[in-house]
């Protein structure tokens, strides 16, 4: 298990967001450390995806700070950056709860679009590339090699030329992760990556995420599948009704009475199941 003394990567301070009169997040603070897998869990409607959308620039928080620090000491105030620069400059990549691949484009094309920024820089404003000049050819070859390497890792090389929309669900999930990784992120945010996967696919996913962690990309994870969360996370944050109710290692979370109350407290007919699932 990674220790508490790892350097901070993302520091969330007093994050708040309201839609009209509805408070989606209030005073949420936590830290994600470099080289760790941090999981955000909580019952439905706890504000997990909302927090994600703030971190990745899709929503602008109404209060609080989001500070990301690179290993070279460069700092980014995510709450004040335009959405696309959070991915481009700060290196925060994400996937979506409802998979958002470019369904009408091939698997390979999906991974090349993800490398758009460096590729575009090599085209000389597009003009050189049209004329077949400049560094573009080499850049494209490198981009394709990188895409192929990822396709090999996620076992989709054979389907590189198929439309992404034609892949089975589990493969689409893997492809979306690979696509996010192609922007060379320092932080990979995954919104329920195991949803809809069968047990063996889930196991593969866990292994993939652990490997990604080894390769110096930290992971922030929203997940309902507690098996996965407990097995691969270094650090867990529990949200309930827009507030943080617990924060700690999997073992600490498992023992935290607040968490058990939050899961059991739901007025849900299968609250018992939920609790059982949550705390194996």
């Amino acid at each position: 298990m990674a220790g508490q003394n790892l350097p901070e990567l993302l520091e969330v301070r007093d994050l708040g967001l309201r839609f009209g009169g509805i408070v989606a997040l209030a005073g949420v603070s936590f830290t994600a450390r470099r080289g760790e897998i941090t999981a955000i869990i909580g019952p439905n409607g706890a504000g997990k995806t909302t927090a994600f959308n703030c971190i990745t620039g899709f929503y602008r928080p109404s209060a609080g700070d989001l500070d990301l620090t690179h290993s070279d000491g460069q700092r980014f105030a995510l709450a004040r950056m335009p959405g696309h620069l959070i991915a481009r400059r700060a290196g925060v990549a994400r996937t979506f709860q409802n998979i958002r691949l470019f369904a009408g484009m091939t698997v390979l094309e999906n991974l090349l679009v993800a490398q758009h920024v460096p590729l575009m820089a090599a085209t000389g404003l597009g003009v050189l590339a049209i004329l077949g000049l400049g560094r573009y050819r080499a850049a494209e070859r490198r981009a394709i090699d990188k895409a192929k390497a990822w396709l090999e890792r996620i076992d989709l090389l054979a389907r590189a030329d198929d439309p992404a929309g034609a892949l089975p669900y589990g493969a689409q999930r893997r492809l979306e992760i690979a696509r996010a990784m192609c922007i060379d992120p320092v932080l990979l945010c995954l919104d329920e990556p195991a949803a809809g996967l069968n047990p063996s696919e889930t196991a593969e996913l866990g292994a993939l995420l652990l490997r990604i962690r080894e390769e110096n990309c930290s992971v922030l994870l929203i997940e309902h599948d507690m098996d996965v969360v407990m097995r691969i996370s270094d650090h867990i944050i529990v949200l309930d009704r827009g507030r943080k109710i617990s924060d700690g290692t999997p073992a600490e979370i498992r023992a935290d009475p607040h968490v058990i109350a939050a899961y059991l407290g739901e007025d849900d007919e299968n609250a018992d199941d939920v609790a059982h699932e949550a705390l194996p």
Partner: protein
């Protein structure tokens, strides 16, 4: 609905037709001395109602013979797919050789069709690739035409020197318009682009001191071939004089034909190159999913602007060509009908398909010419045909998408059902 007996169905259709046509066709308003007089035309109504009855009956009987989903359309599509590899070279060869065999009227028609092919290819970048609905494409056509006419009039420069400026100015307008409005979605963007097209037309119509207002600009210089003019004499400095040919209006016609062919092919070449490169690929990605693009660090506004600007630039080129071909332009040539026609070419062609644009332009521009003897009924038939074609082939003539890059050599095309249509 379709469960009804064909005869009853046809009868009901005829009844509806009676309601539609009895007043509008059966009672013609004519301006008399004491105001409006109604002229009854019962036979016209009877003929129309009868025609609706028979047509509906035939359609129902035909549908009854085969299930609707196999109703011929699929076969046409498969026939196209089979022809695919030969169609492009054949069309290109026909386009290159046509002037040597055709008469003047056909060449004129060829120039017209090619102008629309070029406009269609230009708009295809915006609508087909980037998925942005632009209902005011004619604005850029107009900007290109007036830019060339005005620059030529005021500086004495020729067509070839002004052409880049016309394209650049159109692109500049594209960016100027696009910057504030490209964050609008879908139909909001559509109405603003439509409004922009109308604004340009109204300004051209009323800024008389610059544009000549409704009278337009005439005496726009004709293009030259490396300085050689095309005139009706064989003095030195003319095409006929230099090559010791008898002067003929055909020479200029053929020359104009080849200019627009080259310009159109340039548009196509640039588009095809761009599609295989990051810029074109990201246009398509934008059409597929804007939010995913943003999550990958892509600046959506800039990307949309480039699509707008490149599309506008080609519209500008086409406009300059239109001005030099006509020698005269007026705001009348730049109405919403033009935008609608070009958009219809793109959609009927199959969004994003370059070949589709050619086929659709042939059908939509060449087709009405065949109906020219029908005079007033020509546009009526054009409108109806547009409806029928969309109902039969909502995805357009060429529906597949070819991947921009593949690992394997013989990778297949992507079926239409997977391709998103863009929401911007």
């Amino acid at each position: 609905m379709s469960q009804r007996a064909p005869l009853l169905d046809a009868f009901l259709s005829a009844l509806v037709a009676l309601g539609l046509f009895a007043p509008m066709v059966g009672l013609q308003t004519t301006v008399g001395v004491h105001g409006i007089v109604l002229v009854p035309r019962p036979f016209a109504v009877a003929a129309l109602v009868g025609a609706v009855f028979v047509l509906r009956l035939l359609v129902r009987l035909w549908q009854a013979r085969r299930p609707p989903e196999h109703a011929g359309v699929g076969r046409i599509g498969r026939a196209f797919a089979g022809l695919g590899p030969y169609l492009v070279p054949a069309l290109l060869a026909a386009a290159l050789l046509m002037p040597w065999f055709a008469n003047r009227a056909t060449i004129d028609l060829g120039v017209l069709v090619l102008t629309y092919v070029m406009l269609g290819w230009g708009l295809n970048i915006v609508v087909g690739l980037a998925g942005l609905l632009d209902l005011g494409y004619v604005a850029f056509y107009a900007v290109g035409a007036y830019s060339y006419a005005l620059i030529a009039e005021n500086t004495g420069l020729g067509f070839w020197s002004c052409l880049p400026a016309a394209g650049a100015l159109a692109a500049l307008w594209g960016i100027t318009l696009g910057f504030p409005v490209l964050r609008l979605r879908g139909d909001y963007l559509a109405i603003v682009t439509l409004a922009f097209g109308e604004i340009i037309r109204v300004v051209l119509l009323n800024w008389v001191s610059l544009t000549g207002g409704p009278n337009g600009i005439s005496g726009i210089p004709r293009p030259t071939l490396f300085g050689l003019r095309f005139t009706m004499s064989d003095e030195p400095g003319t095409f006929a004089g230099f090559f010791h040919l008898a002067p003929s209006p055909m020479q200029r016609q053929i020359f104009l034909y080849y200019i627009i062919l080259v310009l159109a092919l340039l548009t196509n070449w640039v588009t095809l190159r761009l599609r295989r490169q990051p810029l074109g690929r990201v246009w398509e990605a934008l059409r597929e999913d804007e939010i995913a693009c943003r999550s990958l660090g892509i600046n959506i506004t800039t990307t949309k602007l480039t699509a707008f600007a490149v599309g506008a630039c080609f519209g500008g080129f086409a406009g300059a060509f239109f001005a030099t071909r006509q020698g005269f332009i007026s705001p009348e040539s730049f109405t919403f009908m033009e935008s609608a026609t070009v958009l219809a070419i793109v959609v009927l062609g199959g969004m994003g398909s370059q070949l589709g644009v050619v086929l659709a332009a042939l059908v939509m521009i060449g087709g009405p010419e065949m109906f020219r003897p029908l005079a007033d009924y020509r546009m009526l038939i054009f409108g109806l045909a547009l409806v029928v074609m969309m109902v039969l082939r909502p995805r357009g003539l060429v529906t597949e998408r070819r991947p921009s890059v593949t690992l394997r050599r013989n990778a297949g095309a992507i079926p239409a059902a997977m391709i998103a249509e863009g929401r911007g």
